[in-house]
Structure formats: structure tokens, C-alpha cells
Symmetry: C2
């Protein structure tokens, strides 16, 4: 094998270069663990000097945070244009769209819920918290309880807890295959409704 003739140095708009590097990072972090990916790897695949990665993102951790942030975004489309019928139907539609998104982005989704809390890392926690808040808003909107005021904090906490089940259930479906997509649909829809309609009232006033 001949020596790789290095292409002439090409100068790009900072935004474009940044996006390019971020894309490579997303792919690598998506398929390998944090420690297994080195900045050198990312720089090499992006056809760029290692120092440039540090230049744009500061440290390896900061770059990783950017990637996680991107992966955790819950598409707004999931809870858009829901028919004004009852909560059951709206949640059902919502869950279905959600499963659609997950199925389409299988790999990215799996690697996104894996890092769920790079232990004791306050910045990762922060990102997860923000993502959870957004997801919670979507669910509350779907079950038409967005304007509950009494016990609002408890209700939100319960929905966040439910998203823990959602993640675990998705793993059961995508990785183990122990549950089918329609199983998940039934399970997630029913448990959400059970939570907000039955468990929440029982807990609201303590």
C-alpha cells in the first residue's frame, strides 16, 4: 500500500467544518463507547488535524456533550396536530408516531439511551433533565392535562418515571425482541393512561 498522499489543506467556513466534525463524532460515538473513541479517530475520519477538533469543541467531553444533546432531541412531530378527541386516542397516536421514529433511527436511539447518565456527570444530567422536560410537556399535551396545577410537580415526576419504562421497553423490543411493536404500543399507551387517570389521583393529595 502506498503512502496516503495527503490532500492539500482545505479551508472551510467555521460552521461547515464544525458541522462536519460533529457528524463524524456522532457516528463514532454512536457505535463505540466514549473511551474507545479518541479525538485522533474523529480527526482522521474528518480528514483534519487533531488540534482542529479541540479548537472547535474545546475538550473531548464537550464534544461528547454536543453529540448527546443532539441525540436526545425528541422530534416535535410526535405530538403535533393531534385530533381533539379523547385522551386515549391521542395517546395512542402519539405512541405510534414515537415508535415510528424510534424504529427508523434504531441505532441512534439505542446509543442515545445507553449513555443515560455518564455516572456522576452533572452536565450530562443537565442535558437529560432538559430533554425529559420537553418530552414530559409533549405527553401532558397528548393526555390533555397540560394545565393541571394541583400536584403538577408530582404529575410531571410520574411521567418522567414513565419515560424510564419507555426506554427500557424500547430496548426489549429493539435489542431482545421479547416484545413486538404492537406489544409496546399497547403497553405504553395503557400504562400512561393508568398513571395519569388512576395513580395520579391517588397520590395527588399527600
Amino acid at each position: 500500500m502506498g503512502v496516503q498522499r495527503q490532500a492539500p489543506r482545505r479551508r472551510m467556513e467555521p460552521d461547515a467544518r464544525r458541522a462536519e466534525i460533529l457528524g463524524v463524532a456522532r457516528r463514532l460515538f454512536g457505535t463505540n463507547s466514549y473511551t474507545a473513541v479518541s479525538i485522533s479517530d474523529i480527526a482522521a475520519e474528518a480528514g483534519v488535524a487533531r488540534a482542529l477538533v479541540n479548537h472547535y469543541f474545546g475538550s473531548k467531553r464537550q464534544l461528547y456533550l454536543e453529540v448527546v444533546r443532539q441525540m436526545m432531541v425528541v422530534p416535535a412531530s410526535v405530538s403535533e396536530r393531534l385530533p381533539p378527541t379523547n385522551a386515549e386516542e391521542r395517546v395512542s397516536i402519539c405512541v405510534d408516531r414515537w415508535l415510528e421514529v424510534v424504529e427508523r433511527n434504531r441505532d441512534m436511539w439505542l446509543s442515545a439511551i445507553g449513555p443515560e447518565a455518564l455516572s456522576n456527570d452533572p452536565e450530562i444530567d443537565q442535558i437529560m433533565l432538559e430533554a425529559d422536560e420537553i418530552a414530559t410537556d409533549r405527553v401532558l399535551e397528548a393526555v390533555m392535562m397540560a394545565d393541571v396545577v394541583e400536584g403538577r410537580q408530582k404529575l410531571r415526576a410520574m411521567i418522567r418515571a414513565h419515560s424510564g419504562m419507555l426506554k427500557a421497553a424500547s430496548r426489549e423490543w429493539l435489542v431482545r425482541g421479547a416484545l413486538s411493536r404492537s406489544d409496546l404500543h399497547v403497553m405504553l399507551t395503557r400504562t400512561v393512561l393508568h398513571l395519569v387517570h388512576t395513580v395520579f389521583p391517588a397520590v395527588r393529595d399527600d
Copy 2:
């Protein structure tokens, strides 16, 4: 500050030394992230040469795996000696004991469910899988459905998914304080029963 006069080299039984190092590692990994803890740190706190840590555990990763393994053990006491009454009461007792354990070992529990980080690590996954299987057995025993054969895999998968909610809910309780212990008790008990008695039958035959 004077130079630390280094204590004379002390020779110990391999098992004892191994346990000592493992203890230090458990404490450090419990309070800091994987990358933030170096083998040097562990060796220093254990009053030992860095190479000795490698000697006993091979690599840093293997040591980390040991720590995670220890942290994930679900105490058998949680599902021992349950009264032969109905499922509701048995689950209630089980959940209560569980919350007791979690409350007592707050820090360890939190760091135990955090480190399911290090994404895409098959060995970590393996450990989590095994721990989940054991926990699932306990729950099935409590709800008196240990001998279900039809749809057994789906039932187990649903319980594993529920344990995802359990972890998230525990965080809501211990970290955010958005839910009280009795809230958790009500929520976890009811959702488990709802899962096995209502959702499972609806999903069993597909």
C-alpha cells in the same frame, strides 16, 4: 508539609489485598465518573503501587466491571418470607422493603444505576442483563406468577421494562424530591399489578 515517609512495604494475602483495592475502587467509582478516576488514584488511596491494581484486576475496565457487578446485586431479603395472601399485599410488602434498602444505601444505589453509561459496552450490558433477570424472578415470585408458561417471555420483558420505571422513579424521589417515599410505594405497587393483571393478558396472545 513534610514529605510523606512511605510506610514499609506490607505483604498481604491476595484475597485481602484484592478486597481492599476493590473497596477503594467502589468508593471512588461511586462518587466520580469512570474517566475521572485513574488507576493511580485508586492505588494511592489503597496505599499500593499502581501496578498492583493491574496485577489483581488486569485492566481498568475489568476492575470497573467488578465494581458494577457488586453494586447491582439485588438483596434477596426483598422477596423473602412473603405471607401467602393475595398478590396486592405481597407486592406492597416487597416494594416497601425495596424502598427501605434503597433509602439506606442512597449513594450506592444512585451510582449503581448511573454507570449504566459507558455505552455500547457488551460486558456492562451482560451484567445488567443478569441483574435484571434476578430482579425479575423476585417480582414474579411476589405476584405469584412465577409459573406462568404461556407468554412467559413477554411477561418477563414487561417486568424488566417496569424496572426501568422503578429506577427513574427512585431518582425522582432521591435526587429531585418530587415524589415522596409513599408516593413511590403507591405508584410502583399499582403499576406492577396493572401490568401483570391487565396489560399482560391483553398482550399475551399475538
